[in-house]
Symmetry: C2
Subunit: 213 residues, 2 copies
Amino acid sequence: MESPVTDAPETDGPRARAKRESLRRILVAASARLRREGLEGAAIAPVMKAAGLTHGAFYAHFRDKDELAVAAFRQAFATERERWIGATRDRSWPARARRLAARYLTARHRDDPGAGCAFAALATDAARAPDAFRAAYGQELRATLAAIRGAPDDDPMRPPPLDHAAAMLALCVGGLSLARAVNDPELSERLLSACRDAAERLAQADAAAAPPD
Amino acid sequence: MESPVTDAPETDGPRARAKRESLRRILVAASARLRREGLEGAAIAPVMKAAGLTHGAFYAHFRDKDELAVAAFRQAFATERERWIGATRDRSWPARARRLAARYLTARHRDDPGAGCAFAALATDAARAPDAFRAAYGQELRATLAAIRGAPDDDPMRPPPLDHAAAMLALCVGGLSLARAVNDPELSERLLSACRDAAERLAQADAAAAPPD
DNA sequence: TGTTTCGCATGATGCGCATCATATGGAATC
DNA sequence: GATTCCATATGATGCGCATCATGCGAAACA
């Protein structure tokens, strides 16, 4: 269970501190490269170089490449889940959904996968990845769905059903992935706006199907 | 523009016929492997072996690996667009959309990417692929959206707007991709059914927003 | 029938990559 | 202050891959 993420105490010598700092730089570099280049593309040597180290130092931090992939994937969410999902204080599901789609389905997000959502960046890669990675993908997905819903099930606020959050995220991930896959700028823009609009319609239909209170 | 697909005349000797037959086998093998293993995974030697040839014969059919990828991608749609989109004769958009989602978002489709939709199998790979591949992706996407809509714009049947078809496909592609990425069978199943249900709600909202006649 | 063509096979070549073996130099420990 | 760690660097090793060079044999053609 213990993954080599930055979860160590602060109280130790410059030796351990330096190692933790190295690990942090490795994870930052890896999580960006992973999202930009994919699971196969994020090679060890370039990642280590980007972290200011050489390839040999890698094995002081991780057992193998797969372990790095899992840690870097998790790092991406530790850093930026809030940024895309946002703990919005909006009460109604349509308002929350509109906000999610408006943040997620943008040209800016499409054009900077290295800083964006790892679900969209790695969806098809994950399907071909080893079990440990797919397990992490599932756990982060569950956590993200919980964040989208925004309140525990027994909260008087009545969060949207898990299924509604899941479909909304699927719409966003699918729209962003297609918009990235396509060369034609007009079609790409059209995909983003079509999905933004559809998110709005869908959330309103969701609300009608499961009234807020 | 001339891509080396099977579009040659039937009237020539056994020499050309044999070559066309080889090409066909290469494309079939490549399009399955491409969807199963991704752009990087579909290596030349294994594909040629699966086609009953050796790696050396490859360059009699394609200039390089990228050209094969484009041809194999197109092949996937030439063969199986009908299968997922289906030229359904249903008149209403909700009925058409329900049918699309019911065919697309299945465990069978999820578990056999080699025979499934190439959009979902290669979405994130395409974002990192060379321009020629991305251009093909866009063209096939446009053609697929037209098939989903089912009628030309000036048809009295009033097809759903392009944007509605695009969002519906994004929902399907996103749902299938997430369901494949995840390890947990329960979550995976949940994603499929959540998106099927959402497709239904969305299509009904679509119909309300743009009445059929 | 002799010559040319060309689809295919065999066998390099070279590169990028993951991983390992070994060395080093400065903390940590006594 | 001497010894032990250990994070890092350097430099193999071996593999998979794309691509190219070369040869063969049967069809195409004169």
